[in-house]
Amino acid sequence: MTSSIDGALVERLAARLRDAEAGRIPCPPIRDEIPPGDVATAYAIQQVNAEHGIRAGRRVVGRKIGLTSRSVQKQLGVDQPDYGVLFADMVVDDGEPIAATRVLQPKAEAEVALVLERDLTVEQPTVVDVIRAVAFALPAIEVVGSRIANWDIRLVDTIADNASSGLIVLGGPPRILDGLDLRLCGMTLECRGEPVSVGAGAACLGSPLVAAAWLARKMVEVGTPLRAGDVVMTGALGPMVPVAPGDVLEARISGLGSVRAVFGREGA
């Protein structure tokens, strides 16, 4: 490492993001206090808040991959994805009502969730290692959120903010990978029957399996490999859409089934 990380700064910016979440008031971007390319410090901030959560009793259930679409990467001027941590309290069942205020500045996207049955501790894991490690795939809706006001994010902002994660809604039925075409599977996300986002597996880094292999390698590199039982949210299959109170979203992923995110009305 050529640059050292300023521990006090990391703690202060991590607290800023925690306070935004706790107080339900979005905060200014953190890039005003760290260099725009300082990914190491951004992940250090994410890590501080993950450890904070674990100390408070939150259970880690997996990882999410973000910035997997070419258009979003172009928008943020980056050429690779990022990742965040998933906790048990972020997992919502298919159709379970979600309070409108639960996620700050919510948006939604449809994704393929992979659930592992083996650890991915091997050095430099490949897509083959990932395929061998996957127990089953599920259709999923990720409700992303941002602690940063007005989603005014650059790379370091979203990384520090746990990759803008919010909730994940998991549908079914579970499918084994055998015979599934995760690259060409069509995706449609409807809001009350109106299509709001359409895409396919290839929109996620070429294939959700390619994205998962990137994450597996990254997690081995940073010393926290993916483990049996982990849920991997692989990344959006189409454009992200804003969510309003009372919205009922239904995603269909060809070959995988469907999943619903049901948002409560304001105050309900």
Partner: protein, 257 residues
């Protein structure tokens, strides 16, 4: 009175000579009925020259397409045998004004489809489906037009490539599609972008023709509408579309002469 025959000659000659023309409506607006009459008359000129009508294309079937063009009604145009490009064939840009390409689901009818049909009836009339690429080419300057302009111009029909015909899947409503230029994805989407289900576009085709006292014949090919936004063609580019469960279709644009 709109000069149907005169306008038909203008759009037909523009297509035949691959030259851009000003919008017809610059001379004054006309009705959608007139626009389809101009379209029919221009296609009749093609038929007189020996071309054969082989089917229909649907246009403005997706929200993204409607937004791209600023037009919000379903439209249709006629396909002739002269517009057919062989799968894997070479396309010469000199034949077009400013061509764009978009991936679509193509269907072929086992029996006639006429009148006000529903989705189930429309799908039951389909004998085969295939991945397809449509080359659209407005004859209007800068690809700019009103609804009646584009309809009069045969809804920008100009060329199409159909992959291998195969048995229709049980549900064609959400087939993933990747379109690549020289192997790199340029558009990713799903047939769901076509009215939520491309069979709706087929049923709409039968209904729209019925309004004009026509119908789709057995053996007709229908291009159900773009599953992604269109991409401009450039010399030398190799274009492929791959559709979930249906395989690949493609062509190559000839390098600049």
């Amino acid at each position: 009175m709109t000069d149907i025959a005169g306008y038909a000659r203008i759009v037909d000659e523009a297509a035949a000579r691959a030259t851009a023309i000003p919008q017809l409506t610059r001379e004054g607006d006309f009705t959608l009925e007139d626009a389809y009459a101009i379209q029919r008359a221009s296609v009749a000129r093609r038929v007189e020259r020996g071309e054969r009508v082989v089917g229909l294309k649907m246009g403005f079937t997706s929200r993204s397409k409607a937004a791209q063009m600023g037009v919000f009604d379903l439209i249709h145009g006629r396909l002739t045998d002269a517009m057919v490009i062989e799968d894997g064939g070479i396309v010469d840009l000199a034949r077009y004004v400013h061509p764009r390409v978009e991936p679509e689901l193509a269907v072929r009818l086992a029996r006639p489809l006429k009148g006000r049909v529903g989705i189930a009836e429309a799908w039951a009339a389909v004998e085969a489906v295939a991945p397809a690429l449509e080359i659209i080419d407005s004859r209007y300057e800068a690809f700019k037009f009103s609804l009646v302009d584009v309809v009069a111009d045969n809804s920008s029909s100009s060329g199409f490539v159909v992959g291998a015909w195969q048995t229709p899947p049980a549900d064609p409503s959400n087939l993933g599609i990747v379109m690549t230029f020289d192997g790199l994805p340029v558009q990713v989407g799903s047939t769901a972008a076509v009215l939520g289900n491309p069979v709706r576009a087929l049923a709409a085709a039968a209904r729209m023709l019925a309004d004009a006292g026509e119908g789709l014949e057995a053996g007709s090919i229908v291009l159900t509408g773009a599953a992604t936004p269109a991409e401009a063609l450039r010399p030398g580019v190799s274009v492929r579309a791959e559709m979930e469960a249906l395989g690949m279709v493609g062509f190559t644009v000839a390098p600049r002469g």
